[in-house]
Symmetry: C2
Subunit: 264 residues, 2 copies
C-alpha cells in the first residue's frame, strides 16, 4: 500500500497505521503528540511488571496500563485498538524473538495486559526547543544507548541493569538540558548522570550497546537519561512465556500532547 510519512494528529496517525498506510518508524509523525513504548504481558506477570515500573519511574514511566484483555487505551487514545494501531510488533516467547507482525489479531488473548511506557520523543522536542541539536532527529538512525552499572530496583521476576541514552550537550547548555527535561517525568524526565561515563559503568562512549555513536564537538559534555529500552531488556531477561512489544522505532501514537504530560 502507498506509504505516508506525515500525520497531523495522533488519531490521524493511528488511522493510517490501521489501514496499512504507515508501516515505518514513527519518529516525526504527528509532531507534538506523545508516543509510547509498548509492552504486553500475560496477567500472571502483570502485577510484578506494574510494580517494577512503579519502582523505576525514570526508565519505565507509565503513560497508561490497560486491564486484562482490554485493547482500547481509554485515557491516552480513546477509540484506538492496541492490536492494530502500532505499525509493527515483535512477539517473544520464552525471551526469544519469534516473529515480527503487523497486527495482533491472531495472538490476542483475554489475559493480556498492555503497558504504554513513555518514550523520549517528547523530551527531545523540549531539548530542540531550547536550541540543543540532536543529529539523529528526523533520521532513521537512533541515539546511542548503553547498559550501565546502575541497578534497577527489582520487583518479583523483573530486575537488571538500567539502560541509558547518551546525548552530547554543549557545556553552556547542560543546566538548561536538566531544566527542560525535568518538566517531563512521564517521558524519562531529568538526566540520571552528567559527565564521566565510567562512573556509571560505560567504558567506551564510542561503542554503544544499542543505536549508534555520534560525534562530539569541543566543549560537549556527555549527558545520560534513563531509556525505555530498560523495561524491554528487563522483561526479555525474565523469559516470559509470551511478551509482545513494538518493533524498535515503531511506536504507539497517543492523543496526548507533550504539554499534557508536563509536570509543571
Amino acid at each position: 500500500m502507498l506509504q505516508t510519512r506525515t500525520a497531523s494528529t495522533g488519531r490521524e496517525a493511528r488511522a493510517l497505521i490501521r489501514k496499512g498506510a504507515l508501516r515505518h518508524p514513527t519518529s516525526g509523525i504527528a509532531p507534538g503528540y506523545v508516543q509510547t513504548n509498548l509492552a504486553i504481558l500475560p496477567m500472571d506477570l502483570a502485577f510484578d511488571f506494574l510494580l517494577f515500573c512503579q519502582r523505576n519511574p525514570k526508565p519505565c514511566p507509565l503513560i497508561e496500563v490497560l486491564e486484562p484483555g482490554q485493547f482500547e487505551p481509554r485515557s491516552s487514545a480513546p477509540g484506538a485498538d492496541i492490536r492494530t494501531d502500532v505499525p509493527r510488533y515483535r512477539i517473544y516467547r520464552h525471551g526469544k524473538l519469534e516473529a515480527e507482525v503487523e497486527d495482533l489479531k491472531a495472538v490476542w488473548r483475554d489475559d493480556l495486559v498492555t503497558f504504554l511506557i513513555g518514550c523520549s520523543f517528547s523530551f527531545e522536542q523540549a531539548l530542540l526547543n531550547n536550541g540543543i541539536e540532536l543529529p539523529y532527529w528526523g533520521t532513521d538512525q537512533n541515539v546511542a544507548m548503553f547498559k550501565t552499572s546502575i541497578a534497577t530496583t527489582p520487583a518479583g521476576k523483573f530486575g537488571g541493569p538500567m539502560v541509558v541514552s547518551m546525548r552530547w550537550i554543549p557545556r553552556e547548555k547542560v543546566v538548561r538540558a536538566v531544566q527542560a527535561t525535568s518538566r517531563f517525568p512521564a517521558v524519562h524526565g531529568a538526566p540520571v548522570h552528567i559527565g564521566d561515563p565510567e562512573a556509571i559503568g560505560i567504558r567506551d562512549v564510542g561503542k554503544p550497546d544499542y543505536g549508534r555513536a555520534w560525534p562530539s564537538k569541543a566543549g560537549d559534555v556527555p549527558v545520560f537519561w534513563a531509556c525505555g529500552v530498560t523495561p524491554q531488556a528487563v522483561a526479555t531477561a525474565s523469559k516470559p512465556a509470551l511478551m509482545i512489544t513494538h518493533a524498535p522505532g515503531h511506536m504507539f501514537v497517543t492523543d496526548l500532547k507533550d504539554e499534557d504530560v508536563a509536570a509543571l
Copy 2:
C-alpha cells in the same frame, strides 16, 4: 506504657511505636519526615488496586508498594516492619470494621500486599513554610474533607468519587499555595480545584463528610486538594474479604525527608 510525643527521625518514631511507647496520632512526630497512609490487601486484589493508584495519582500517590508477604519497606524505611511499626491499625472484613489493633502479628498472611500512600503532612509543611496558616496543625483535630462529584478513574473492582481536603487560603496566597504544593506530587501535589465548592459537588463547606469545618477570614478562598481518604473509601466500597489500614491519623513514618519526594 509511658507515652512520648516526640521523635527526631522516622527511625526513632518507629522504634518508639514498636515498643508500645507511641500509640497516638503521628501529626508533628519526626518533623520533616514523610508519613504515609497504609492499605493492605490480599494479592488477588493487588493488581487492580495498584492500577487504581497508577490511574489516580493525585488522591493515591504511591510512596512504596511491597511484594506479597513482604513486610519491610526496603526503599522508604529499611529495617522497618509494617506489622508492628504503625501505632494503630484497623481491620476490615467485607467492607466492615472488625477491630482496631496495635500490631498485625495475628492476622499477617503471605499473600498480603502493602501499599504506602503519600499523606498531606509534607505538603502542609510547605504551606506553613510559605506563611499560610493551618488552624488544625499540631492539634488532634483534622482538616475538613468532602466527597465530591469528581469521579476517580476506575480500575477493576475499584472506583468511586474523589474525596478532597479543603483549606481556606488568603486570596493573595492562592498562587503561592499552588506553586508550593505542585512541588510535591508524591503527597497529593497541586490543588484539584480553586473556589466555588458547588462546581465539584460540595453544597455546604460548613458540613464536611470527614474531619471538621474551620472558620474563614474575609478574603479567604476555598482551595481543594485530592485526599488520601479516597483510596481507603474506594477500597472499603469494594468490600474486600480482608483489608487492613492505619487508624485515622496514626500514620507510618518513613525515613524519607520531604525534600526526597519533591519533584523539582
